[in-house]
Amino acid sequence: MLAFRLLWRNWRSGEVKILAIALMLAVAVVSAISVFTDRLEAALIDESAAFLGANRIVESSQSIPGEWQQSAAEQFDVRQATTVEFLSMVFSDETMNMASVKAVSEGYPLLGNIELSDRPFAVDPEDITIAEGIPGPGEAWLDSRLLPLLEAQLGDTVQVGDKELRATRVLISEPDRGGGMSMVSPRLIMNAQDLPATKVIQPGSRVEYNWLLAGESGEIDSLIEWLQTQTTEHQEIEDLQSEQEQLANALDRGTRFLLLAGIVGVLLAGVAIAIAAQHFASRHVDQVALMKSLGASARRVRTVYLLQLLLLAAFASVAGLLVGEVIQRAVSATLSSLFPVALGGASVGAYGVGVLTGFVCLVFFALPPLWHLPTIPPLKILRREMAVRHLRTGMQGAFGLGAVLLLILIYSQDWWLTLSVFFSLIGIISIAAVLAWWMLRLGRQLGMHAGSIWRLALASLQRKPGQSTMQILVFATAIMLLLSMTNIRTSLIDDWELTLPEDAPNHIFLNIAPHERESISAILQQNGIPQDDFSPMLRARLTHINGEEPSEEMRERNGSLRRELNLTWSEELPSDNEIVRGEWWDQARINDEQALGGMSVEQEVAERMGLELGDVLTFSIGGLSVDVVVENFRTVDRNTFEWYFFIAAPGVLEDYSPVYRTDVFLAPDQKSVVNQVLLAHPTVMVFEFDKILQQIRSIIDQVSSGVELVLWLVIAGGALVLVAAVNASMGNRLQEAGLLRALGSRRKLIIGSVWTEFSVLGLFAGLLAVFGSEILLMSVQRWVLDVPMQPHYELWALGILIGTISIGLLGVISCRRVVTAAPAVVLREVEG
C-alpha cells in the first residue's frame, strides 16, 4: 500500500510522469507494431497462400498414394484436397478446342477463392461472385475465352473425353493458376468424381497430380517432414518460395523491414526510459536519504521502489496496450480501403511482445539508474555535498545494450540478424560518441571569438560535456533513424516498382507465324495497345549431347530432354541476364563461319543436364538437325516472364523458319483482344499473367502500407525521445535562465542562447546522423535487402537541416517558460 501511495504521489508531482509516459510509449509503439505486423503478416500469409490455393502442394506425375492421404488425415491436423491437371481436346456441338482441364476434389481451393460469373470477360465486381464449393458432378466451369472458342454458351453441353458436362459458370479467376504450358490453353474446371468417366487418363498420359495441404504451420511442417521420407523422384513439394519467387521475396523484404522498424521502436523507447529513469533517480536522492534517516532499511527502500516500478510497469503496460491498440486500429481502419484482404485478429503473443518489451525495458533501462538509490547513506540528509555512488555509466550502458540484444532476439528470433544489428549499433554509437565530443571541443574553440549569444550557448554546452555528448547522441540516433527509415521505405517501394512496373507486359502471344505478324500488330494497334517487337522462337528437341543420345535415366531426370524446348537467338545478352561462366559472343565470333554456332544455356538447366563449356548439342528442328557448341552459362531473371533457357548466336537458327512471340500489356477492359487475336489466328497461343501480376501487386501494396504505418509510429517514438531528453535537462536550464534573468539579461538574449544551444546540438546531431544513416543504409542495402550499395547525397542536407531546425525549435518551445514566468517563480520552483 505504501508503494502504491508513494507512486500516486510521485505521479501527481510529475516525477514519474516522464518515466511512465516513456514506458507506456515503449509498450504502445512495440505492441502497435507487433500487433499490426502480426495481423498484416497473417493476412499476407493467407493472401499469398491463396496463390497456391494451399500452404503447400505436393506435385506429382503419378497419382497421390491413398495411404498418404489417409495418414495425413489420421496423424496430422491438416485440410487436404487434390487436383488433376491435363491438356485435353474439349468438344462442343459446333467445334473443338484444346483446354487445360483441372479436375478438383471437395474442399478445393483450401485457401483463396475461385471467382465466377455468368458473363464471359466480366470485369465489374457486381458481375463476379465467389464460388461456394466446386462444380457439381456433371458440371463444368469454363474460362471466358473457351466459350467463344467452342462457339458455346452457358447451359450448353461440352465433352471432355467420353464425359458430357454442362457449362454452368464462367471461370474468372482461380487462386493457383500457376505457370507452365497449361496456361497457354484456356481452363476448364470439373468435379474429380467425373474424371474416370472421361477415360482421358491412360497409362503414359501427361498428367499433373496435385495434393493441396493447408493448416497450422507446425502441423504442416511435421507432415512435410514425414512426407520427405516418402516422396520419390516423381513428386515435388512446392511452397510459396519455390512457386512464386518474386512474391516470396517481396514478403520477406516487407517483414524484414517491419522487423527493423520494430527494433528501432524498441531502441527509441529504451533511450527514453533510460533518460527518464536517470532523471527520476536524481530527483529521489533526497527522498531516499530522508527515508533512511527515519529508519527505513536499505531492503525496505529497495522493496518500496521496486514495487513502485512494478506497479508503474503494470499501469504503463495496460495504458500502452490500449494506446497501441487504438493506434493500430485507427491506422488499420484508415488504410482499410487499401487492404483488399480483411485483417484478422492478432494473436495473444503479439500483445505479449508489447508487455514483455515493457518489462525488459524497465529491468534493463530503468533499473540500473535507480539501482544505487537504496545504497544512499542516511548521512546524505545532513551532508548534502556527499557524493552518491551511482552504478557506473559503463555498467548502465552494458545493461542497456543487453536489453537491446535481448529484445532484438525476441523480435527477430534470428541470431545472425540480432548480432549484426547489435554490433553495428555498438560500433556506430562508439564512433559517434567520439565524434560528438570532438565537435563540442571544436565548438568551444570557435565560440571564443563569437558574440555573447553564441558564447553563452556554447559555454552551456561545454559546462556539461558528458550530458551534451549524450544529448547529441540521442538526437543523432533519432534523426538517423528517421532518415534511414524514410530512405529504406522509399528504396523498398522503388525497388518493387522497378521489378513490377504498372504496365509490365501481362500477356504473351506465342507461336505466331511470320505472315501473321502484320495482322496481329494491326489488331493490337486498333485497340490502342502498345506492343513489344516480335521475337523469334523455335521449337526444338535436344537429341544428342556430344554425339551421344541421352540415356533413359537422364531423360527421366530431365524434363528438358523429354519435351520440345524454346530456342531463340540474340546478338546482345538480355539486360537482366548475367554470364556466370564462359563469354558472350562478340562480332568476330558471330562472323566466324568456320566454327560451330554458339549456344548460351541457363546455368541451372546446364547443371541438371551435366553440361560443360565446349559440349556439342544436337537439336532436331522440324526433322532437321543442327549442331551447336555450348559457349557460356548464364542466369536469368525469373521475376520477369521473358526468359529463355537456350539462346543461340545470330546466324545459327535463322534458316529454320521460326515462329514469333510478342509481349503486351492488357488492361482488364482490354481482355477481349485476346479473343480477337485467337479467333483471327487460331494457331496462336497465349499466356495470361494478368491475374498473377494483379495479385502480386495487391500484396506489395499492402506491405507498403504497413511499412508506412510503422514508419509513422517510429517517427512518433523518435519525437517523444527528444522531448524526454529535453525535459530531463529542464531543471538545470530553468535554473540557469532564471538566474540570468534575475541578473538582468534580456529575454532576447536568453531565447537566442537557447535557440543557439539547441540548434548547435541539432547541427552536431544532424552531422552525426548523416554519417550514421549512411553506414546503416549501406549495411542494410548490402546485407538485408541485397541490393547494390550507394551513397545517399540527398540525406546530407536533409539531416543537417532537420537537426538544426527541429532541435532548435524544440528547445525554444520546451524552454519558453523560462522567459514567460517571473524569474523569482522559476528559481523558487527549481529550488523546491
Binding site: N10, S13, D286, S297, P378, L382, R828, E829, G832
Partner: protein, 227 residues
Amino acid sequence: MIEAKNLTKKVQTSEGELVILDDVSLQVSDGDSLAIIGASGSGKSTLLGILAGLDVPTSGSVRLNGFELTDMDEEGRAKVRADNVGFVFQSFQLLPGLSALENVMMPLELHGHGDAREKSEAFLGRVGLSARMHHYPKQLSGGEQQRVAIARAFASEPKILFADEPTGNLDSATGLKVIDLLFDLNKEQGTTLVLVTHEDRLAKRCRHQLELEAGRVVVPAVRAAVN
C-alpha cells in the same frame, strides 16, 4: 539516554588524514536537552550524525536508549532510528512533490501507523498550519516549511529529537517562533533534544551546551540556566 565515549572521526583526504572529531565524550539524560555549538567546520554536524546513528565514528562508542550503536550494522541502526529518533534539518528536507500533510504522514506511513492521517492533521494543527495542510512546500514560506518539518518530527513521537541548525535558514523573528514551538513540543512530549546551532539564544534554551573547536570539546556540557 545518550552516552558517547571517546568519539573520534577521521577521514582521508588528498592532503592526508583529517581529524574531524577528537576524543569527544558526552552524556544526555532522558528528557534533557543539549546544544552543540561551535564555529563552522568545528565538527558539530558530524557529532550529531554519529549520535543519531546516521554515521559511525572511527573509534569510540555511542549508546542510544540502551542500544550500543557502534556494535550495529546499518540495518540495526536503521531499526533503532525508526523506533527512537526524529529529525529537524536546517534545509527543512520536505519532499517537494508532497503536500504539507503528506510530508508529515511519510514517516508514520513508513512505520506502518494506521492513524497516520489523523495524527498528522493533529500535529499540523498544533503547529498552526491547519489551513495550509494541502499546500506544497514551494507554496509555503521558510518558517512554515520548518513548522511542517517540526510537525513531521514530533508526529512519530520520537524519544530523542535531533535538530541540525533548525533556525539556520530563517530570519530572526521567524527563527524565534520556531524555537518556541520546538521547545514547547519538546516539553509536552518529554523528548530528549540534541541540537546543533551557532545561535546563542537557541543554545541557551537548552539545559546543556557543549562547545567544539576543531573537533575537540573546549567547553564541556554544563548545566545552563533554564527559563
